[in-house]
Symmetry: C2
Subunit: 211 residues, 2 copies
């Protein structure tokens, strides 16, 4: 149900409009995609006047940042959750990769906003920053643990980037419905993901990290 529908019962002061706006934005993304995500649409969906968001966000960009932030949090949780599913350290990279792509499949529009809104600002996306808690650092840390001590730091960095690129590319490609035939032939979405990742060096536990 749209927030607008319960506007009559809502008191003049909302209470937590900031969060309500971010939630409304996510609903719009899920239902109508990134191109429908305007400030006015978000206010409408939240049942509030188009000027109201300006009491909580400097401008549209700041609202989008908040939405992207939630997205990166969710993705981080998914990737961290992969640890529980990995039989051993060698299999962990694959599980993290699968988690990453599955998140993008479950929230394709949000995933797109997570990257787009940082490109507008000429910044690295939040989850790729060197923030010790970022999703990117989780991947790099995993590589560090997988790699022997003889592996150079620069190779760990390159492997992390390579893995990130591969996962991102697969995330974008797997949205094309034309692969559905192949997916079915392989036994479903997840089998397809694992099949593709299996061809990418760093997702093959039996192979050493070093080139």
């Amino acid at each position: 149900m749209s927030e607008a529908a319960i506007a009559e019962t809502r008191p003049y002061h909302h209470g937590d409009l900031r969060r309500a706006l971010v939630d409304a934005a996510r609903r719009i993304l899920e239902n109508e995609g990134p191109s429908a995500l305007s400030l006015r649409a978000v206010a409408r969906e939240a049942g509030v006047s188009p000027a109201a968001p300006y009491h909580h966000f400097k401008d549209k960009g700041e609202l989008l940042d908040a939405v992207a932030h939630v997205g990166w949090d969710m993705l981080g949780d998914c990737m961290t959750g992969a640890k529980a599913r990995a039989a051993d350290l060698a299999a962990l990279m694959t599980e993290i990769g699968v988690s990453y792509v599955q998140f993008s499949q479950q929230h394709p529009a949000l995933y797109r906003v997570m990257y787009d809104c940082s490109r507008d600002k000429d910044e690295l996306p939040e989850g790729m920053q060197d923030n010790e808690d970022s999703a990117y650092c989780l991947v790099r840390e995993t590589f560090r643990r997988v790699a022997g001590p003889e592996v150079q730091e620069v190779d760990i960095e390159l492997a992390t980037i390579a893995a990130w690129c591969a996962a991102h590319g697969l995330a974008e490609m797997s949205t094309f419905k034309q692969f559905e035939g192949l997916k079915e032939g392989l036994g479903g979405e997840e089998a397809f993901l694992r099949g593709v990742l299996g061809h990418l060096g760093m997702f093959q536990p039996s192979r050493p990290l070093k080139t």
Copy 2:
């Protein structure tokens, strides 16, 4: 120089407005990026009224398709050109990958449009279609030649998708200027590309295709 500047000398009938519009669109992409690519802006850049494009394209989408088509042609040429640079068949995949990413770096806005305009139509991008002459088929054919006869067709398909995903991911990631420090440390843009690709299974000639 903008086409508008020579409008006075132009006869009433343009002669080749269709091509001029596509060229104008490419100029806009190069100078101002994808968000500036409106039908009106293209007509303006071509020095023509906003209604003129409708004599050559059904709507904005059709103009964008034509721009994307040129882009896929250019990318196809780049990838085909990689053959000349590859010392042997084993190195060809890497050269094709490098060509792909270099194209995306030279024409980042065009590259974006090439994918975006097909997503709008819920279609596979032109270069990924199973058209025997598409860029995707060039990659798959190369894998077929690299692979021994014992490799199954489905693995060739998966490897092609994996390579495509990796290249696309790297194309998108390499636009972030935050990697510049790392790139310099490695000796430049191309060394960075080869370094990342080197961590991705199918770009390592010494490794067999099969997982």
